[in-house]
């Protein structure tokens, strides 16, 4: 396999927690992303799942360089994204990575026409589409995402939620990026519309050879679109593997509980599925538990879980790290154990 297009290593983003009105004093840190590593392969989709507040959007923001990382590295086609770069490297990077956001209602400027919104990236990168050619390019993009090219002069409020999401996708495609980070792009949509947008994302990927980082809390949506999946909990990646490894043989207790909690749309399996129910809530990322962060909700927790943080590594059943293990995948649990049939 070719070299991954994006390699992320030990990425950390902490937000200061401040107190005081005049003299602000930092009293702690929200450890939103706390040492995350993964590879994104060319032309593939990496799904990122996890509950609210686990750091998915923060990860996306840092990768888009909308937030400065606290520490860690990311290589895009071998170039250090956060290190010193030449002006041309910087421009290229800005073109190559784009983002699509969840909320089609607030992520588009209501006072601009669709044509302006989709064509905006050309203002900053005129080399992609010379001025005389822009209108045609914008209409082409609208057509690509299944919108009527004649609607360039309409405003966002004249479109439905699903159509607005298509506008956001057209804008992301304008500069012919290599990677698109999708942060909950279909979460606000009804199922029938969600399916339309997911199909579109799939078609665009095969047409343009795009790589996606696809963030969602709907595990069905993520499975459908992803080649590989990373599971996050409280700023950490706790398990990471192919779509089949994560959904059919999850090893980490959190992944197992998460999958078991998702209702399956089939009344005939109602009482046959095993229910793993977590108690309690996710602890605060400003003050995460020592050792394994999942231990306050984990039914398998032992003393060692409070003392020693389990690293994300390929493990045998029982938890022993074995980097040589054939068809293994990394998980961060001292007692990792394959568990089949969580989803059906």
């Amino acid at each position: 396999m070719s070299e991954p297009i994006l390699q992320v290593r030990d990425l950390v983003k902490h937000f200061p927690v401040q107190q005081g009105i005049v003299f602000k004093k930092t009293i702690g840190h929200v450890r939103a992303v706390d040492g995350v590593s993964f590879d994104l392969n060319r032309g593939e989709t990496l799904g990122i799942v996890g509950e609210s507040g686990c750091g998915k959007s923060t990860l996306a923001q840092v990768l888009m360089r909308l937030e400065q990382p606290t520490s860690g590295r990311a290589l895009f086609e071998g170039v250090d994204m956060f290190g010193k770069k030449s002006a041309s490297q910087l421009r290229q990077l800005r073109r190559d990575m784009q983002i699509v956001l969840q909320d089609p209602y607030t992520s588009l400027n209501p006072r601009k026409t669709v044509g302006d919104i989709v064509g905006e990236p050309f203002e900053i990168h005129p080399e992609v589409a010379p001025k005389g050619d822009r209108q045609r390019r914008v209409q082409e993009l609208l057509d690509t995402v299944g919108l009527n090219p004649e609607h360039v002069r309409r405003y966002p409020h004249q479109f439905s939620g699903g159509q607005r999401q298509r506008i956001g996708i057209a804008r992301a495609l304008a500069l012919k990026p290599k990677v698109i980070v999708c942060d909950e792009p279909v979460s606000a949509l009804d199922v029938s519309i969600q399916a339309q947008v997911m199909n579109l994302l799939g078609d665009l990927q095969s047409e343009f050879g795009l790589s996606y980082i696809f963030i969602a809390h709907d595990l069905g949506v993520v499975r459908h679109l992803s080649d590989r999946v990373g599971v996050m909990y409280l700023g950490k990646m706790v398990e990471n593997g192919t779509e089949d490894q994560i959904y059919e043989h999850p090893q980490h207790p959190y992944t197992q509980a998460l999958l078991s909690s998702v209702p399956v749309p089939d009344p005939s399996v109602r009482d046959r599925r095993e229910a793993i129910r977590l108690t309690g809530d996710v602890p605060s990322p400003a003050n995460p538990p020592s050792g394994c962060r999942f231990r306050t909700r984990c039914w398998k927790a032992q003393d060692i879980c409070a003392e020693q943080e389990p690293e994300l590594a390929v493990r045998r059943d029982g938890g022993r790290v074995d980097l040589e293990l054939a068809d293994g995948h990394p998980s961060a649990c001292h007692f990792a154990e394959r568990h089949e049939h969580v989803v059906s």
């Binding site: 199922v191 339309q196 459908h224 089949d244 998460l258 809530d281």
Partner: protein, 339 residues
């Protein structure tokens, strides 16, 4: 004929609620939106009816009309009947309806935070009902409130009653809402998207809780949702709504096995499933109709892959195809007997 006809079981004692041919419109200066166009469904004691449908199909407005909390104006009931244990509600006095709320029927909402008052403790808000509707002393009412929090499995309930809503997590607030709605022991509970704002692990806890409470108390539960997964896990019967009508009604198992309406079929094929890696999803083309201008004939016809001339002309009625199975489609019989 409608799905509320008595021909299909459910003795008159167990029939809690019947909604029949309900029409509601919202009148604004620009237009009149025909939001409900003949909704009918019923719930028996101890059963869970899931009301399924996409955004804007009229699920919440139906529930609000049942509860007597419809926004009037702009909303007006123009036709129909709502019967609670046989008693007609649309013609009942406001006093009578207020008396039924909480005592006989209660409702919980998606957004527990905005339904709870931020300046009073959770316990105070639950206790209020015991004080004003049951004439209990402040102290006794607080003790009852703690019992209610315990019932919905909030740990350390005696302490927690003294806390404010913002000190509760999302899941705990939803539990507190459930406690509040059950305080006066209603026999009908309407849950309007009770878990949509919650994480999936917490959603599972809350659904288990609701199901358990329904069973223990023999309540009728109307669960409003657009999540086909949640429905499959808890519903006894399902009513699918589209553009202010019930277009299909069925027991849960048969509906998932073989939908009798193209809209239901489309919804099923649109869900990306957890238990299989799919290819292209079969999506429903187009958008839901503008309620100020609903298409002639079958309201689903512009999006329906089976639509014929007949569909464009004639509104299909909700008809019973098999015992307990209803569909409003000219081709329902073909759909249900295919394969």
């Amino acid at each position: 004929m409608s799905a509320t006809d008595d021909s299909t079981g459910g003795s008159s004692e167990s029939r809690l609620l019947e909604v029949e041919d309900l029409h509601v419109e919202f009148r604004t200066r620009e237009a009149t939106a025909n939001v409900l166009n003949g909704v009918g469904y019923h719930v028996d004691a101890g059963e869970t009816l899931a009301v399924l449908g996409e955004s804007g199909s009229g699920k919440s407005v139906t529930a609000q009309t049942v509860m007597g909390i419809l926004d009037t104006p702009p909303g007006f009931v123009t036709k129909g009947a709502i019967r609670y244990r046989g008693e007609e509600l649309l013609s009942a006095t406001e006093d009578r309806r207020r008396g039924l709320r909480g005592e006989n029927m209660a409702m919980i909402f998606q957004d527990a935070l905005s339904a709870l008052n931020p300046v009073y403790t959770v316990g105070f808000q639950i206790a209020e009902q015991f004080r004003f509707r049951r004439g209990m002393s402040r102290k006794d009412a607080m003790a009852k409130a703690a019992e209610m929090l315990d019932l919905v499995k909030i740990p350390n309930a005696k302490q927690r009653v003294k806390e404010f809503p913002h000190q509760f997590s999302g899941g705990m607030r939803q539990r507190a809402m459930i406690a509040m709605s059950l305080a006066l022991d209603p026999d009908l509970l309407i849950a309007d998207e009770p878990t949509t704002a919650l994480d999936v692990t917490v959603q599972a806890q809350i659904m288990d809780l609701l199901d358990e409470l329904r069973r223990e108390r023999g309540m009728g539960l109307i669960l409003i949702t657009h999540d086909l997964g949640v429905v499959a896990e808890v519903a006894d019967r399902i009513a699918v709504m589209y553009a202010g009508r019930v277009v299909e009604e069925s027991d849960a198992e048969s509906l998932y096995k073989r939908p009798a309406h193209p809209y239901t079929e489309g919804l099923m094929e649109s869900i990306p499933r957890l238990d299989q890696k799919g290819e292209q999803l079969a999506s429903i083309k187009g958008l839901p109709p503008n309620l100020a201008n609903i298409p002639e004939g079958c309201p689903f016809h512009p999006r329906c892959h089976r639509a014929t001339d007949e569909c464009r002309r004639k509104v299909p009625e909700l008809l019973e195809l098999r015992p307990g199975r209803y569909s409003a489609c000219h081709f329902a019989e073909e759909l249900i007997s295919s394969e």
